[in-house]
């Protein structure tokens, strides 16, 4: 039996077979099935209330419980540092994507970003919502309200960056690497890396504040990999179909995947007398040097590569899946012990010291954050076929309506002005017929969810990750974008 019909990869085939009509073929390979982040594999949460950590620590690490706290902290940071050390003006917040990706991670919404169009699911219940006409469950509408709040907070002293509407990606990146943005949608290391070159003890860099109001993107089991964002197929016209199929088979071969992660067996690792995989002395030395950023071009892993050196869509399985020998494919670096021993980032260390924890993610759990373990959005979305031509045309018109009012919403001078534009926009979307398209999508979603959700929860339980109960995820009242309890 080929490797892609065994183990974790097999589930892909099973899902599509259950959802298909029995006559349709099997066309696609997913990219990176497995856990997208485990509880100890990253140094800090990537999204949430992200800010310049050096300025935040100066303020004494004030707790951030919601958007209002976040804006308040950003404004205090701006008051203390209207200019960077190099003399560039600072701004409350910078973004290049206004669709609201970052807001999905806030507990006001509990949304998964990856569903198609602006149809987004609750990460705990997996219910799908219409993000066009349901502003209480919409990243886009929440993003508009968030940027409008920032505009009104910073319009008088120039701390709202008006260039976010016009600047290029390069200009945005330049401001970010200079540290001109006090808050960001996501952690970015460019400022830290630049500052660290001249100051080994620097705390200049972007980091997310541990908060109970942030959902951590960890323990996410991607049954169908990075779908619907990415999938692979073999071209129908390829003269090399058999060879291409063999390549996919290698990409699902646990022995090959082990070697991608750990190097060649017999060189950098091997089994000991008890049958346990162990790094060789040479392998451990080379791996440690590689992981701590060696610049030696002859380093084994610099030449061989590693899991993280693969393009983002390779291979089909992730490094945190279990090899038939009972150990993780990457049996060294995916452990708390390795994370603690190799934690060199000053910001990560500072978080651990301030919050009294071993690893930064511990601080997020300690403050009450929950993770994405219940979320099946990517897998469900992957199984849903595209809308038909008329529906896609209508959604394109809906997108155009939103784009048309985006600037008016962000630059609205009052809440009433914002609400007026919002209500008129939703009226136009309803008149267009968008809710009927959503209803067709919702029916497909629910049919897929009925199959996918139990499968994901089963895998999670098998791996010792118990899905959250309503009592756990309904731990605090959700807050509408208007700030009223739901």
């Amino acid at each position: 039996m080929p490797n892609f019909l065994k183990g974790a990869a097999r589930l892909t085939y099973d899902v599509f077979k259950q959802l298909g009509n029995g006559e349709e073929g099997f066309y696609f390979f997913p990219a990176r099935i497995g856990y997208n982040n485990v509880g100890f594999s990253i140094e800090t949460a990537y999204r949430g209330y992200v800010l310049r950590w050096d300025y935040y620590s100066e303020l004494g690490y004030p707790p951030i419980h919601d958007e209002d706290d976040y804006v308040d902290v950003l404004m205090r940071m701006h008051a203390n540092h209207p200019f960077t050390e190099e003399g560039y003006p600072t701004y409350l917040y910078g973004t290049f994507d206004m669709d609201g990706f970052e807001t999905a991670f806030r507990t006001e919404l509990n949304l998964d970003y990856w569903a198609a169009y602006k149809y987004q699911n609750d990460i705990f219940t997996n219910e799908v919502y219409d993000g066009y006409t349901d502003p209480a469950h919409s990243m886009w509408w929440t993003s508009m309200a968030w940027l409008n709040k920032l505009y009104n907070a910073g319009k008088t002293d120039g701390s709202f960056d008006m260039e976010i509407f016009t600047q290029t990606k390069e200009q945005y990146n330049q401001k970010r690497i200079r540290g001109q943005y006090l808050g960001l949608p996501a952690v970015n290391e460019s400022l830290y890396k630049a500052k660290h070159m001249t100051d080994p003890d620097t705390l200049s860099g972007y980091c997310a504040v541990p908060s109970e109001s942030i959902n951590l993107y960890t323990n996410v089991y991607q049954l169908l990999g990075n779908g619907s964002a990415y999938m692979w197929f073999i071209s129908a016209n390829s003269p090399h179909k058999e060879t291409a199929l063999r390549l996919f088979n290698y990409m699902c071969d646990p022995d090959f995947l082990r070697e991608i992660c750990m190097g060649r067996r017999g060189v950098t690792w091997d089994y000991d007398a008890d049958g346990l995989p162990q790094m060789t002395e040479y392998g451990r030395e080379q791996l440690d040097a590689f992981k701590t950023g060696t610049t030696d071009p002859d380093n084994y892993f610099a030449q061989w590569g590693s899991f993280n050196d693969l393009p983002n869509n390779w291979p089909i399985l992730r490094e945190n899946l279990t090899h038939p020998d009972g150990y993780s494919l990457d049996f060294i670096t995916l452990s708390r012990e390795y994370g603690v021993a190799t934690m060199t980032n000053n910001l990560a260390r500072d978080i651990c010291e301030h919050y009294g924890v071993e690893l930064p993610l511990d601080a997020f759990y300690k403050t009450g954050g929950l993770d994405f373990r219940n979320d099946c959005g990517e897998a469900i979305s992957s199984t849903i076929s595209s809308m038909d031509r008329d529906q896609l045309h209508l959604l394109a018109e809906a997108e155009a309506i939103l784009e048309d009012v985006q600037v008016d919403l962000i630059l609205a001078e009052t809440e009433d002005a914002f609400d007026t534009v919002r209500e008129e926009t939703i009226r136009r979307l309803i008149e267009l017929g968008e809710p009927e398209v959503f209803e067709a999508y919702r029916q497909k979603w629910e049919a897929a969810a009925a199959i996918v959700v139990p499968m994901v929860f089963k895998v999670q339980r098998e791996n010792g990750i118990e899905p959250y109960t309503p009592e756990q995820y309904e731990r605090q009242p959700c807050v509408h974008m208007e700030g009223k309890p739901q």
């Binding site: 073929g25 129908a236 063999r246 390549l247």
Partner: protein, 104 residues
Amino acid sequence: MKRILVSVLVALLLLPAACSACLAEEDRPVLTIGDVSDRSSKRVDGENQLGLWRYLEDQLGVEIQYVYLSSDDYAAGLSSGNLPDIVATRICAKLSQGGCAADL
């Protein structure tokens, strides 16, 4: 001394694979991979190719050529059917209807 010895052993272990690759490369079929993404390549092919990709090529007996496709290139490929052997895509459902993906 021990480190030098290990390095020599590693070189000897890698040598047969490297030589067989040199001898076989000219006759190998080219397997093209198209990635509809603007993410940067990580030494998949060419002079600085990572060892793991070279090893995979040897196992399969092919030369891998990895290209990043723009949205326009991809759309043109979908229309003409002239696509790389393997493609990474975001638009799955449309493809099976269009007949561009092989039924496996």
